[in-house]
Assembly symmetry: C2
Homo-oligomer: 438 residues x 2
């Protein structure tokens, strides 16, 4: 592990040797010659900090690489790669690396979405780089384009499919008609969902990612707890059927959008109807995609694998190589400190379209009553589709009415729903979903 | 045009004030405050070099901005933005800017694909930056991800829809059954195709872009004349019909791929069959997309508008801002000099799949004969679809046979076709197209 001749060398310490960490170790060792050829320096893996140094790894290096002594592993490191996950000890170790003057690469969305600012500021003060491309949408290069390529434009909205587990489940429900529980069980069987799927299906994973995306896009700090979050556990067969009949597909979207009046940002994660022709609609299975709207560029989409050891390791290595190149060229590091204050607004300020499905009396005049109630609250209807109701009986004839509205404020919609529920001709509001895309 | 107080300022000289140039001028002036807020420096547009300073512009600035005296415009510039297009005077002016120590941003694919190396080397020697994100796929941030985000991975292949005009025409042919000429006329009417569409429909524009993409992806210099280029002028109704029947769509793809044996790169632009489920297949109208295959990340796609004044100006501004940030931070610029020699191989070395449609006698034993000829030349058949032949007559009963092959070398296919044409049961080979995607 020492360097010959006069090729400069950078020491890389790896924290974590699991799914992603072991693939980073593989690339650093197996592709060493080619990486050195590209940057003119050796990337010297000095050690891997793990819980259990004796465990067998997906990619196995000689045993002297593995250690449970973090000081030994981080000693003299130029770049520390954190792939442990979770808050502690990851947070503490990143701060320690920064205080030692090391640059840091991490894929830890959970940590960044809760304690990001503390870390960005520590890195900025120490003049080291903190890079985290792998933390959002796995292998898709999205953070660098947001920060650099779009820095002369004004991003207005980001919509991402950033959780492969939920995308796979919704896909199965849509294409096979499976129930949520059956689709989840299938995803678990295939390894797309974890034994405890809560963080995925309840939207927390996507919420952490949208907080990080919003930070890069809007140059202001946001945290997980500012994100309005709704998971997919309540998405029903009726939701899918009503969406399909109107030409839409249901996706769990992570949305960050900038509003002008009042000025601020709304962060929201929820099941969303998208027109079938929308570029995000064709993102299948466990793939991820991030759709960006900006003033000049109009719309861009970035698509690729959202997870997986090798794919995520590719993103980690992109960060490692960028830091290495900068170190060798000289010049200060880049930091991600927030440059301004931008308020995080309540979802009530957000404007979008909606699908509302109600069970109502199958009689003349009903549509007029419901439409009138919508209009009274400033919500106008774009389309309506009536379908037979299986629960309809001779005693009480009912039908299902599925409305798609024009754009309206969340707060207006909430009032509209209250009033609709109070109508004597309406038995039940069965489904309410937000609709995005032109 | 002078700077107040102690905010640092960078002088930007604009060469060209046409479709893209006038949008860059708009952003630099209209968004000046917000750009300054983001980087802590003023971007000072010092002048715009045009042929005709009196002409009226899409976005009009006061007349003192416009000049036909390039020395006056470039005097004291920190960043020169070249948006004239073509080889001369663009080449000469970029070299002049470099020799004055200015950084350069350009969107000129034609120039880069022919004289790129001369410019990259001049920039490297002068220690200035030469950035060209807008030269490929307009507004899509693709060059920076290729160079930075994927620098720790090994790119094996790039497939791009990088010409909006041809994508629009093929889309029309596919969805409405229009002929090439009718679809071209419609594209011209809508402004998607120029009066002289040769560079687009004959594939030269895409060829220039793939040479630039290959340079970034494979770290070796390539030029336009090394690209095997076939346009879409010969794509027929029968091609579209046969493709559709087999579940494929025809796209003009620009492909750069690295081969191991013999070692080298093949660059090719040609109409290509893609499975309808491939992410590139759903890229519609004048949009562009670049699909990247790499060893660790598997596959990525970047999607967005391939042209248009504002969208392209967004990419130009991304480059301007990156250079500005680097200038303000200090530290040397980044250059794009080639780091190694990599041979550009003949397309005969390339391996792909093919669709071959023949008119053959409608008799028993014909399929066996054709399949036998394919097998003799090492080309194996994946699927076959027989359809009635409108030209069939009682005198001579014929049918159309559409074959999809497994992967084979271009050179093997050429021999197979020769032999097939010589078969007594085969009247004619009507269509031969390459097939990509899994
Ligand atoms: N997996 C993906 O596809 C993916 C995608 C994007 C981002 N990420 C992010 O990448 C990070 C790593 O994910 P992963 O899937 O590689 O996790 P993982 O497979 O669970 O690996 C975690 C590693 O950290 C070590 N570790 C855990 N706690 C430790 C402690 N207290 N002290 C020392 N070592 C400890 C473990 O050691 P032992 O092996 O000895 O137990 C293991 O090697 C996470 O932040 C995750 O969110 C993952
Ligand atoms: N248009 C797009 O969507 C797009 C997309 C990607 C990349 N690009 C690239 O961007 C570049 C500019 O394209 P464009 O569409 O903006 O071109 P354009 O509309 O034709 O504008 C060219 C500008 O250059 C000036 N010019 C031309 N020759 C000149 C000369 N000899 N001396 C001084 N000025 C001269 C013209 O001046 P006058 O106005 O006085 O005639 C005009 O302002 C090209 O390299 C193009 O390939 C364009």
């Amino acid at each position: 592990m020492t360097t010959a001749s006069d090729t400069p060398a950078l020491n890389i310490a790896l924290l974590g040797g699991g799914t992603v960490g072991s693939q980073v170790a593989r690339i650093l060792t197996e592709d060493a010659a080619s990486l050195t050829g590209r940057i003119g320096a050796e990337l010297n893996l000095t050690g891997i900090f793990v819980r259990n140094p004796q465990a067998t790894r997906d990619f196995q290096l000689p045993s002297e690489y593995y250690s449970d002594d973090v000081d030994e592993v981080m000693d003299g490191a130029d770049i520390v790669v954190e792939l442990i996950g979770g808050i502690e000890p990851a947070r503490e170790l990143i701060l320690k690396a920064i205080s030692q003057g090391a640059n840091v690469v991490t894929g830890n969305k959970e940590l960044l979405a809760t304690h990001g600012n503390e870390l960005y500021e520590a890195a900025a003060q120490a003049g080291v780089q903190l890079s985290f491309e792998a933390s959002v949408a796995g292998a898709i290069p999205i953070l660098r384009p947001l920060r650099d390529s779009l820095s002369g434009d004004k991003i207005t909205r980001i919509m991402g499919i950033v959780n492969g587990t939920t995308n796979y489940i919704l896909d199965q429900m849509d294409s096979t008609g499976a129930s949520f529980n059956d689709a989840l069980a299938e995803a678990q069987r295939l390894g797309y969902a974890e034994a405890d799927p809560a963080a995925d299906v309840e939207g927390q994973d996507a919420a952490a990612k949208v907080a990080i995306l919003a930070h890069l896009a809007f140059h202001a700090p946001f945290t997980l707890d500012q994100v309005y979050t709704e998971g997919i556990t309540d998405v029903s067969d009726l939701d899918h059927k009503s969406a399909a009949e109107a030409g839409y597909i249901i996706k769990l979207l992570a949305i960050a959008e900038q509003l002008e009046d009042p000025e601020g940002v709304v962060l929201r994660v929820h099941p969303t109807l998208l027109p079938r022709e929308h570029p995000l609609a064709s993102v299948r299975g466990a793939y991820n995609a991030v759709f960006v709207e900006a003033e000049n560029v109009d719309e861009l989409m970035f698509y690729g694998p959202g997870a997986g050891g090798s794919a995520t390791a590719s993103a980690v290595m992109g960060d490692v190589m960028s830091i290495a190149k900068r170190r060798l060229r000289g010049g200060p590091g880049r930091t991600h400190t927030a440059r301004r204050e931008l308020e995080c607004l309540d979802i009530g300020e957000s404007t979008t379209r909606y699908m509302v499905v109600v069970r109502a009396a199958d009689a003349s005049g009903v549509l007029a009553k419901v439409a009138g109630t919508f209009a009274d609250h400033g919500v106008s209807i774009k389309s309506m589709n009536q379908t037979p109701d299986e629960a309809s009986s001779d005693d009480e004839k009912t039908a299902l009415l599925a409305f798609i509205t024009h754009r309206a404020k969340e707060s207006q919609l909430a009032q509209t729903l209250e009033a609709t529920k109070g109508l004597d001709v309406v038995n039940e509001v069965l489904s309410v979903m937000r609709v995005e895309g032109k």
